[in-house]
Every structure is written in C-alpha cells, then in structure tokens.
C-alpha cells in the first residue's frame, strides 16, 4: 500500500458514516427531499388562477372575450357574479386571484366607433402570480382587440392579407416552456453539494475534538495534509454521488435536460467542492461543539443561498448586493452548472466563473490547511 495511513483514515471515516444513522439520513434522504420539495412546491409557474367575472353585458362579444381568456390555461373562470360587491368579496377572501368587469354596452362599443374597455382587478399580494396574471391579461386582451380590428377592416373592404405593420416573433431557447424546475434542479445540486460537504466535514472534525480523538490523532505520525485529505475525501465522494443522484432524479421526474458534458459537470462540481469543504474545515477550526459547527456553516449558507441567484435572479438585486454576491463561490457554480446543463455550451462560455471559483477553492483550502495544524494552541 502506497499510503496506508491515508487509506486507514478514509476507511475509518466511511465506517463511521455508514454506522451513524443521522449522517446516513442526511446523505441519502435530504437530497431527494430537497429535490422533491423545491421541484414541485417551490414553483413560480402560474397556472389556473381562479377568476371571478362580472359580465354586465352578456353579449356575443363579451362571451367571445371570455372564451379567449378561458382558452389560455393561466386562468380558470371559477365564479360568475352579478354584483361588483360579490366580486370584491371573492378577491378579499382569496377565492379569486383576479376579477374581470365587463361594463354594459361592451358589445355595442366594440362594434361602434368608441373604444371598448374592460377592467381587470388583480390580487397583488403574491407579486409573481400578479405579474404573470397582469401580462397574460393584457396580452390576451390585445390579441382580442387586434382580431376585432382585423374583422372590422375586412368588413369595410380593406384587404389586410393577415399582416400587421409590426409583428414581433419570439423564440424562447433552452427552456421553451419556461419550467421552473429547469432553473431549480441545477440550483439544488449546488445547494446540496454546499450543505452536505460543509456541514458533514465540519461535524466530522468537531466530533473528533469532542471525543478527544483529535488529540490522539495529532500525536501519531499522520501528516497534516493526510489528516485534511482523509477528512474531505469521503465527503467529496459522497457529494459527487449525490450530484449524480440529483441529476438522474431531475431528469426522470422533471425532465431537466443535461445538454453539456457530464464529465465536465462533475469535474467542475469537484472544483466547487474545494470551496465548501474549505468552509467546512474553517468552521471546524472555530467551533468547539457540533452545534456550533452547524450554526457557523448555516451562517455562511443563508446569505450564500440568497445572494447566489439560487432563489432570486441576481440582475434584479440592488447594485451593492450584486457586488457582495461575488464573495460567494456558489454564485459562480450556479451559473456554471445552469449554463452547462441547459445550454450545453463548452467550458469557454463560463470560463470567468470557473476561474473565480477555482481561485476561491484554492484560497479557502490553503487557509483551512494552515489553520489545521498539528498543535492545540
């Protein structure tokens, strides 16, 4: 055996992981739970928002407009009310997310010379639902208007050839149906890699300190680098297995594509692990108990999740927060893995992120190794 000391350390660590139900649960169950929770529940997709309609016109034209709304699956016309007060109450009670008021004379106006108007009332308490509802309501309404205008022109004998002066064509690349899971699954991989490796590494070191075994290890001929590698190698292997697990589950359950090279994804995940392992080791040098280690890691994890673009797009953040986000390696990794998975581009497309992440990884590991000396004071 070339390095039996290192091998013995890694083997010991694996035995401990396999025999500790809590660690095992953390490693096996949490990734799947997070994937299911965030994949299914934490979705921003807006579908079937219940709508209340107060149709004061009840003309063929108003029915046609309602059909247009019904056809898009953003809304479901759940309530047909006869007073404005009823409509207001449904929105107040949260039973309807939107209300549509069609004034009397809508049909007459639409065929006359006066512009017809309808009123949309949107519950803005959930901004993401409201924003989607607003744009869908406007878009469908405009389309309806264009259709009426076309019919009117055709009737008055002006040939239109179906063409408007300006037509905007849109193509959505990489995620044409705008599935949130395409955005979330790569993010979950980043989060799991970060959480598992930093928490478990910190705990594994602190546990040795609590039990007094670290003192016993230090006075053996083990070299400091062997101690560091022996601690992080098992968790690196586990985290990479978790990555594959989440990739496969994301593909099976949510159809998230892996368009880039799997090898490249795993290799760059390995580089990212240097940063989270470094943070875990650093946390272990300042924490005396497993609880302290857990809290220390959490303190780095929460800002990392919010400022890395995991939940919220970075572009929408105030400038100072955007600048702070450069301090979190997770930011680089999320961009890398989202780009590689969804766009399938080469490493060249993300090289600045790869470079920044590598620098962070090496710096954190170097710092952790320096602090991880074979001495107690």
């Amino acid at each position: 055996m070339q390095n039996s000391r290192l091998f013995a350390l890694i083997r010991k660590e694996f035995i401990q992981i396999l025999r500790d139900p809590r660690t095992l649960a953390l490693v096996l169950v949490i990734p799947i739970m997070q994937l299911l929770l965030l994949g299914y529940a934490a979705t921003n997709d807006v579908r079937n928002v219940p709508m209340a309609v107060f149709d004061q016109d009840r003309s063929p034209a108003s029915r046609e407009l309602l059909d247009a709304y019904r056809a898009a699956d953003y809304f479901s016309i759940a309530y047909d009310v006869t007073t404005e007060a009823d409509l207001q109450r449904l929105i107040e009670d949260g039973k309807a997310g939107l209300g549509l008021i069609i004034p009397p004379g809508f049909g007459a106006a639409i065929h006359g010379s006066e512009p017809a108007a309808v009123l949309f009332i949107i519950d803005g308490s959930d901004p993401s639902v409201a924003a989607t509802g607003l744009s869908a309501a406007q878009l469908i309404g405009q389309n309806f208007g264009v259709k009426v205008q076309t019919q009117r022109l055709a009737r008055s004998g002006i040939p239109l050839n179906g063409a408007l002066p300006l037509q905007v064509h849109t193509q959505i690349w990489y995620n044409p149906d705008l599935h949130d899971s395409y955005f979330m699954v790569p993010g979950i991989i980043g989060m799991i890699l970060y959480a598992i490796t930093s928490i478990l590494t910190a705990n594994a070191v602190v546990r040795e300190r609590e039990r007094g075994t670290i003192e016993q290890l230090i006075i053996t001929p083990i070299r400091p680098w062997e101690l560091v590698v022996g601690k992080i190698a098992p968790y690196t292997i586990l985290a990479l297995l978790n990555t594959v697990e989440v990739l496969v589950m994301g593909s099976l359950l949510f159809g998230v594509p892996i368009r880039g090279s799997l090898f490249l994804i795993l290799a760059l995940s390995g580089v990212f692990l240097l940063t989270s392992l470094g943070i875990g080791l650093l946390a272990s040098t300042v924490a005396n108990t497993q609880q302290e280690a857990m809290l220390t890691v959490w303190m780095t994890m929460l800002p990392a999740l919010f400022l890395s673009g995991f939940f919220f797009p970075l572009q929408a953040m105030p400038k100072p927060l955007q600048i702070i986000s450069y301090l979190f390696p997770l930011r680089y990794y999320l961009n890398i893995i989202r780009t590689l998975m969804l766009k399938g581009t080469s490493i060249l497309a993300v090289w600045p992120d790869v470079l920044a992440m590598t620098v962070f990884g090496i710096a954190l590991m170097a710092l952790a190794s320096v602090r991880f000396r074979k001495r107690l004071d």
């Binding site: 350390l9 007094g212 016993q216 107690l376 004071d377």
Partner: protein, 302 residues
Amino acid sequence: MADAVIRTEALTKMFGEFTAVDRVSFEVHTGEVVGYLGPNGSGKTTTIRMLLGLLRPSSGTARVLGRDVAVETEAIRAQVGYMSQKFALYDDLSVWENIEFYATVYGEHDKQHLAQTLERLGLSGLRSERAGALPVGWRQRLALAIAIVHRPRLLILDEPTSGVDPIARRTFWDLIYELADEGMTAFVTTHYMDEAEYCQRVGIMREGKLLAMDSPTRLKQTALKGKAWDVAAKDVLGALAALETMAGVSRAGLAGDHLRVIAETSVDGPALVARLDGAGVVGGRAEAVEPGLEDVFLALVG
C-alpha cells in the same frame, strides 16, 4: 544523567496572564514509573501536552528521549504512547477496528502483534464489540492497548483510571508494572493519593508548581516534619479544637471517625492524650501510624 527519558528545565506555560505550568524541572529515567499527583487544574495535563508537542512552552525547555519537544516533535511522537483521560476511542468502531486503525496509522502492520496486544489486555473475546458499548473498565484497557500497540519507549498516561472501579484500577497498575519490566518508561498523572503510592517516584503539583518529586517513602521522610498519629475520642470535634492549638502539632484534621495529627517528634502519644484530658475531652487514644501521601500533600500545600 544520560538516560533521562524526560528532562524539563524551568518549563513554563502561560495562557494569557494565567500561569498554568510554572518553571517545572524534573527528570524521568528509563524503566521508571513516575506519578504526577495534583488536583484538577494544577497543570498536569498542560505539562503532558507540552511533552507531546501539542502545546508550545512559553519558556523553559523539555527534552523527551533526548530530543527537544519544540523542534523534533514528530520524531518524539513516533516513540511515545499516549492515553488521555477521555479514552480517545471511536465509539462506532469495534475493538478490533479501533486498534487496527491506530496501528496502521503508526505503520504497525503485524496483525499477530495486534492480536497479542488485545490478548494481553484480556480484550480478545471483545474483538467485534463496538467500543461505545463497552463498560468503562474495558474502554480503559482498549485505550491502553491503543497507546502501546506501536511499541513505544515512553508511555504517557493522563489520569488513566478516572471513573474506573478499584479492582480495575489495581489490575491496570499491574499491567503498567509489567510494561515497565519490559523497559517501557511510564509517566502517569493522577489525583488519587492511593494510586500515587504505587509509583516509584511521585511529583506533587499545585497551581502550576512542582512542589516536590521523590519516592513516596522519601517524600514522607523529608516533607513531613514529624510523625503521624491517629487520635480517637468520643468528642472528635472537641479533640480537634484541643489539638489544633497544641504546641508542636503542625496539622490536625478529621479523617473519618478519628483525627489525623502530624506532630513534631518531641510530642508523643501520652502527651497528645494528656492535652485531650486537659481540655476535658474524655476517652482519648493516640496511635502512631504510617503517614500517607495525603499527609505529604497537605504538608507541602499548607
């Protein structure tokens, strides 16, 4: 002396303003079993940590096996076995996995030697038991097995018997003497007075200072100014009040149902009884006894 296994000179460790070990100088020679007696917080563990290179001395020097602990730390560690009071075992590993792990780390690959070590400590039947499930006496033996598995020349034991029953303690000391017979040197800290009596030489620590270091017998001769007496009386507290103030008595204290009195040689048994009679304490009896290390400790500290 050339064969000093441990030699410290004015070894000192400060933690900020607090002096944990204060200019301690002593020597331990090959094959000796030396005890280091003192209450908790007297600097015993800090001394050991400096000998192992776990803490850097603030001043003074320590040489172990002829090497400076601050310089040749790794070379020293390879030849020293260490057992801490926490019994540094991996609870979720079996007895065999524990000893195998430490042996491999020390480069000891001879499985037969491991098996013999377990055999010698009576652990053969427990090979596949989880260390965490063992009673404390067996955990102590496993910790000792781990400390000696790489055949060290010096064994440093930090309160190895805390929490262990008296019979297991006695067996443990027999093992240490067996090892010493084979040429291993042992340096053992303890806060048990009776245990310190087993040692060939004992150092007495208090508040970071090494007050004395010698064989128990010589300590009793030199540190105690006078003789030890057990004094019994019906009214023990009355007797205590009478003897505490008696000329020539250096110390009187309660010891169970009687008093332990240290008095100058000029004060004899009849004199002690006469003092009790004079103070109106009836039924007094005085008996000359062998002093213990506790008497030495109290004399040195007082």
